[in-house]
Symmetry: C2
Subunit: 323 residues, 2 copies
């Protein structure tokens, strides 16, 4: 009788991850959607969360009788974690790295779109109106990157490469960081906000960052500054942001993430002239599915060989600690 | 009796250049608009063309009885030059340098807007539609910069700093240029076009470049490539571009300059989904008027001291030769 093969559950909708043939040659694979996850988890050793916006695991958790490892096809783990999982010995790994460069480029694109007044240009084109305007340089302008994980670092590197002045806010202060310049402690955020032309939220959603950007934070920003959020929606108190934008406390906001996604059709953000709404796409470039699947296969190979896994999440903190 | 002061004509509309107090302390200044230019030029030693879109000089030329120097507040001199001026001993200087960094940033902004599909994002926002899409990386993508003057060089430097692969087309081939990588000879354009994801026209309008981008050039481009033109409109044969865009021979065009400016309201470009129209603003950042006036004052000081002028235009070629 053959030895029992490890059992992997892949949580996905009708679209399976690419390249599963190789995975199926290594382990027994059960595909499950949100509804049949509990049944699939019985006797399963590992879980690959491909449908990374799903919070189905919490409900199915009692069925996970021998689960040892969960890998998620996203950078943020906020939707995945819940107290029983945090307290359990189950190892969680994420897809740190895959989104770094795509998101950094997306942020630079937003910063330049704002500086060059591209939204107005496109709106005027729609009306066939030729209206010359003066735009702004980004060279020498100050960006404050909030979050010093691998995505924040990639943003810092790229913005610095274009001649912007970058500083950052992270857990621990540090001078002369190669990617981010001076890193300030999280507690200094409100002192730093007035220095920034562009404030970029690239932090994970944790209990420490939830609601961090509230009316007090927006009051500290400059009236000509823009907020860019590619982190997670609940880091921003949306009603406070709407009020601050309407009061002119900051110039505008480019938002890729929201408290509720998809952003509901009636939400005020859609119609605000100084808000750019994008549908949580900043990290998703052509080929991202392949990159996510490759990263999982690498970790699966390590796991089967008994090696230590890449991108292990500190479940209490809610992110992968910086190396 | 006091010595005769040099006479400077400033060609402008109702908006004079900033900082003219200093200039007026150095020379006798006559302000003229397009209509009274001829009268003002009689007995004038120098001309500062602040209204740089004006072609009024050609008509007023017979009145220029002692003109020795013309300075223009633009980079391109195509609207200024005409055969009698080219053949005359009058020295022409331009505003090379002022627009380099602003235009480079503008081009990067357009490239990122295209790669990240920002025009669609803004259009979908207008309709309150959440539609996730995959975007493209610019890292490793190839930009072909057409024109190796100071603007083309600034574009090359900035695009390379963001991780793009840059090559260029200029008058003379050259390997390993620090700004532009490999510079290919102008005659090789059609061989290079198929290699480029983004083709950026940053050339001056001369008899050599007029109509350079025609149906044959567009046929050589890749179907997924974009054209960016921040040079001069007539370098592109617009009917050919419209036909090529409609036929899908290239993916799109971001145009800041046109054969006729302002672009007429009935022009097809306004309404084409794969065209971005902007109103000849790529170089015009907040403070540009001051920068142009400062640059003129520097040259005026040199001129009065009998020193050699900066930014001397090769009138036969139609641009300032690279240093």
């Amino acid at each position: 009788m053959a030895a029992r093969r490890d059992v992997l559950v892949v949580l996905c909708d009708e679209h399976k991850p690419p390249g599963m043939g190789r995975v199926e040659s290594l382990v027994e694979v059960r595909y499950a959607d949100r509804n049949d996850l509990a049944a699939a988890l019985q006797g399963a050793d590992a879980l690959f969360v491909w449908d990374f916006f799903s919070a189905a695991l919490r409900e199915a958790w009692p069925a996970a009788d021998r689960l040892r490892w969960i890998h998620i096809a996203s950078a943020g783990v906020d939707r995945l974690l819940f107290p029983q999982l945090v307290d359990s010995p189950v190892v969680v790994t994420n897809s740190r790295g895959v989104f770094d460069r795509p998101i950094a480029e997306y942020v630079l694109g937003l910063v330049l779109a704002v500086a060059k007044d591209l939204p107005s240009t496109l709106a005027l084109q729609h009306e066939r109106v030729w209206r010359h305007r003066e735009s702004r340089l980004i060279e020498g302008r100050r960006a404050l990157v909030v979050g010093t994980g691998s995505i924040g670092r990639a943003i810092g590197r790229l913005l610095r490469a274009t001649g912007m002045e970058v500083s950052a806010v992270g857990r621990a202060a540090r001078d002369a960081d190669p990617d981010l310049g001076t890193i300030h402690a999280a507690g200094d955020l409100h002192e730093l906000l007035p220095t920034a032309d562009y404030v970029v939220i690239a932090a994970p959603l944790t209990e420490s960052t939830r609601g961090w950007f509230d009316s007090a934070a927006f009051a500290a920003m400059r009236a000509d500054a823009w907020l860019v959020n590619i982190g997670r929606g609940p880091i921003v108190v949306e009603p406070d942001l709407i009020q601050a934008l309407r009061a002119g406390r900051l110039a505008g906001a480019a938002l890729d993430v929201f408290a509720e996604e998809p952003l509901p059709p009636h939400h005020p953000f859609w119609g605000m002239a100084n808000v750019i709404v994008s549908p949580h796409m900043s990290g998703d470039v052509v080929g991202w599915h392949d990159a996510l699947a490759d990263l999982f296969l690498d970790n699966l190979t390590r796991w089967l060989a008994g090696q230590s896994l890449d991108n292990q999440v500190d479940k209490s903190a809610g992110y992968v600690p910086s190396r």
